[in-house]
């Protein structure tokens, strides 16, 4: 490059800041304020303490300390908050983002090098933000002859299905977006949708390497679905229900992994294969088929698929924790009240600081242990990525169809023996139900 960078002039900086502020003001006035008023006209607003909560009432209640916390508590239990923020999409996205960063740094430490370093003051913590901005600004190239509707829809469907699996996961008792009675089967049904998306996308790319990658993805994911279901079967038999919250609650005495370690191992391997992680990342094998069914993704489509992939990673690790590791149970390490004696005093400010009525020690404890266990499983998946090469398709299919199914049956017979012997299960000695 033969150009010399221009000198810095303060007037130019002030001018560009003013321009930015004016543009933001224009957008807010023309677009956002009308949207707010439009919504407020047509959306039925909730009733709090016998009064309809209009925005003006909301703002006036916020400054009255005795009514702030009930409003916040009400908002936290609405369906929109649960689906979008906690334990729904935003929470899962934050965990996914943290996973990507931890993966890069952990692999770098194992490989005796520094990972992302320069984006952000502390050891590259804003690297993900920089990557996201880069992906947004890239051009999306569609190959000629590609099937345009499917090409645009498939990544969105990928993220939507991953988010649907995330919505089934209970983080603590009562904190689940969709509390289905057949939660486990719903999770498996949603997971069965992913090979279809991979195949459709690879076919719509109209290219040879995605074609091979899509077929490999189909073979791999379908082969590992059966060990996946079979390894979760004894859990259902033991706890007597398909509801994920009930499965987690039935482990309050001992965790399921002590009774069925082989099944936990099979579940772990099958979930690695479902997630297309190394050592099972054949559909994306870089040195054989360029990038598999992801070859023609560019720009934000690639970003969406990465997001969906890491959401699925969180969802399957959380499923492992709920099925085998006792869900959210753990020793109680959070105190009953944030500031002792705050709820019985008469000072409103103290009540607000101590989050009286909002802070539930058992729930916070559950969430804490759930996150710790999920990150433990995610860490195990990341370390497996660091030490193994990629597997070949015929060894993969041999393992999935022969060896893993046999292993699940062994553990199934052990558990059935224990149940019929009267030791475990409903009506047994150890686990009264």
């Amino acid at each position: 490059m033969g150009s010399i960078t221009p000198d810095f002039r303060f007037g130019n900086l002030v001018g560009s800041i003013i321009q930015l502020v004016l543009v933001i003001l224009a957008i807010v006035t023309v677009l956002i304020l009308p949207m707010i008023f439009f919504t407020l006209f047509f959306v039925p607003l909730p009733v709090v303490n016998g009064q309809v909560l209009t925005p003006y009432l909301f703002f006036s209640m916020v400054v009255d300390p005795s009514r702030t916390l009930p409003i916040v508590k009400f908002l936290m239990h609405t369906a929109l908050f649960k689906a979008a923020i906690f334990p729904g999409f935003l929470f899962a996205s934050l965990i996914a983002a943290a996973t990507i960063f931890i993966e890069r740094k952990l692999l770098a430490k194992m490989q005796l090098r520094v990972g992302p370093l320069y984006a952000g003051k502390i050891e590259g913590i804003f690297q993900l933000l920089a990557d996201g901005l880069k992906l947004i600004s890239k051009e999306i190239i569609i190959p000629s002859g590609a099937d345009k509707p499917i090409f645009w829809l498939a990544p969105v469907m990928f993220v939507a299905t991953s988010a649907a699996v995330v919505s089934l996961i209970p983080v603590a008792y009562g904190w689940v977006v969709a509390d289905l009675d057949v939660g486990l089967i719903a999770a498996f049904a949603l997971l069965g949708f992913f090979p279809l998306i991979a195949l459709l996308y690879s076919w719509a790319s109209n290219s040879k390497y995605p074609f091979i990658g899509g077929l490999r993805a189909l073979h791999q994911m379908i082969a590992f679905e059966i060990p996946f279901f079979l390894s979760a079967l004894p859990v259902v038999i033991l706890s007597g229900s398909l509801n994920l919250t009930e499965i987690a609650r039935s482990q309050h005495i001992f965790w399921n992994i002590f009774v069925m370690p082989i099944n936990a191992f099979v579940f772990y391997i099958s979930s690695l294969a479902e997630l297309e992680r190394i050592p099972f990342d054949l559909p994306e094998a870089e040195s054989e088929i360029v990038a598999g069914w992801l070859t023609e993704t560019s720009g934000m489509i690639f970003g969406l698929i990465q997001l969906g992939s890491y959401l699925k990673l969180y969802a399957l690790s959380a499923l492992f924790v709920i099925l085998f590791l006792g869900g959210w149970y753990g020793p109680q390490i959070f105190p009953h009240e944030l500031i002792p004696g705050a709820s019985s005093s008469n000072i409103p400010l103290l009540k607000i600081i101590a989050l009286d009525g909002l802070y539930n020690a058992v729930t916070v404890n559950s969430i804490f242990w759930f996150i710790v266990k999920t990150f433990g499983i995610i860490l195990l998946m990341l370390i497996t990525r660091g030490v193994n090469p990629r597997i070949r398709i015929d060894i993969l299919l041999h393992t999935g169809w022969y060896k893993l199914i046999v292993l699940t049956f062994i553990n199934l017979f052990v558990v059935l023996t224990l149940i019929y012997g009267g030791i475990l299960g409903p009506g047994g000695m150890i686990l009264p139900k």
Binding site: L107, M110, Q111, L112, R113, K208, Y209, I212, I278, P279, D281, L282, A285, E286, S287, E288, I289, V290, R385, G386, V387, N388, P389, R390, I391, R392, I393, D394, I395
Partner: protein, 386 residues
């Protein structure tokens, strides 16, 4: 239409027919070309039937730069920087052979300390090249840790090169007549420390790579090259030694001081891809032993170079010399007619000779075996194209 235009039309019709026939079958033509993460600077076109490779058509020449022709326009010393470029990671070895050929042509003897230093540089370069090869092998199989560890440990040796030759990779250190400069004053201790630590790091690779069941499943029994076929096809280097033939030029035609060094020629009898990937690793450990012996036996002081004139005239005649480089037998054939520029320089590279085994081995194997067979042949595209 004239005769030529008729022929061109016929050829076009015939090629369209062939394309239609092959695509009408179950065969799919994949171009593993230069813009492919699994091929380096080299194109080969494969026809795939499901998961099995039916036909391979290697197409070298992407990086052809005309080194042999360029040699005819430069005198014997000006040839050095451009002749080390085909095998840049291994530059001491590719220049070693050239220096031996020129010294044979002119008829001089290099002093003893110079010979020792040249041999140390050659063995260190073998370590550098094999580490690079191992790193790429790891990443071809999807093992990112096996990419980073060899690339990092290679830095230990490159640091040594920077101390005594002046550059990390493009050394230009062995010249006709000896070497360019002597070792720095504290080089021997540093070399021993770093080579010892390097050998300790090499032992780690066994756990995570060579004894990893997934790696073994991918490479054992894959791409078998029987002993008779290996000799018939004329392959060289670690490929030949993995098929059970203990042939190493340092033992068969010893050059410089290699007849005084005691080392084993590693060979394995299994002839598969695992043997081809394990032999360079064993060779690296042997090289560490050789370096320690050389550092023991090197004379304390002495000349390192016979000063030849910059634009010397080579006496008429020809000479041919081979050395054992990181990939196999690398030979130079120099023909001179009395001028200060060589009349013809022919470089015989091991990569080009091993290329014939690619089409032999890939046919009938699975698509997933392609990286493990292709890179285990120790093929360096730039050296094959020259």
């Amino acid at each position: 239409m004239s005769n030529l235009e008729e022929k061109i039309d016929e050829a076009k019709k015939l090629s369209m027919q062939i394309v239609k026939e092959t695509e009408a079958d179950r065969l799919m033509t994949l171009s593993v070309g230069p813009q492919h993460p699994g091929s380096g600077h080299f194109r080969f076109v494969i026809k795939v039937d499901g998961d099995y490779i039916v036909n391979v058509d290697p197409d070298p020449g992407y990086v052809h730069r005309g080194h042999e022709k360029m040699c005819e326009y430069r005198n014997y010393f000006q040839n050095l920087p451009q002749l080390e470029r085909p095998a840049l990671h291994d530059s001491s070895n590719i220049l070693y052979s050239y220096c031996l050929a020129v010294e044979d042509l002119v008829g001089i003897n290099v002093p003893r300390r110079g010979q020792f230093i040249r041999a140390i540089a050659s063995e260190l370069d073998r370590l550098v090249y094999t580490q690079y090869w191992l790193a790429i092998y790891g990443i071809f199989l999807g093992h990112s840790t096996m990419f980073m560890w060899p690339a990092g440990d290679r830095e230990l040796i490159i640091d040594l090169f920077e101390r005594f030759s002046g550059h990390r990779v493009t050394h230009c250190f062995s010249i006709p007549g000896g070497v360019r400069n002597d070792f720095p004053y504290n080089f021997k201790e540093k070399c021993l420390t770093q080579v010892n630590y390097f050998e300790k790091r090499l032992k780690e690779y066994e756990h995570i790579f060579y004894n990893n069941p997934l790696f073994r499943q991918r490479t054992e029994g894959v791409g078998i090259l029987p002993k008779e076929d290996a000799i018939k096809l004329g392959v060289t280097g670690s490929v030949l030694r993995a098929s059970g033939v203990p042939y190493d030029i340092r033992k068969v035609e010893p050059y410089d001081i290699y007849d005084e060094i005691d080392f084993k020629v590693q060979h394995m009898k299994t002839c598969d891809s695992f043997a081809r990937s394990y032999i360079p690793y064993l060779d690296m450990i042997e090289s560490c032993h050789i370096i320690r012996q050389l550092l023991d036996k090197i004379p304390e002081s002495g000349d390192v170079r016979v000063k030849l004139q910059g634009n010397m005239k080579g006496p008429p005649g020809e000479s041919f010399k081979r050395v054992e480089s990181g990939r196999g037998a690398l030979g130079y054939h120099i023909v001179s007619d009395g001028a200060s520029r060589p009349y013809r320089v022919k470089i015989s590279t091991p990569s080009f000779r091993n290329l014939i085994a690619l089409s032999y081995l890939l046919v009938g194997s699975k698509l997933g075996d392609m990286p493990s067979i292709y890179w285990s042949l120790n093929y360096w595209p730039i050296e094959a194209d020259r």
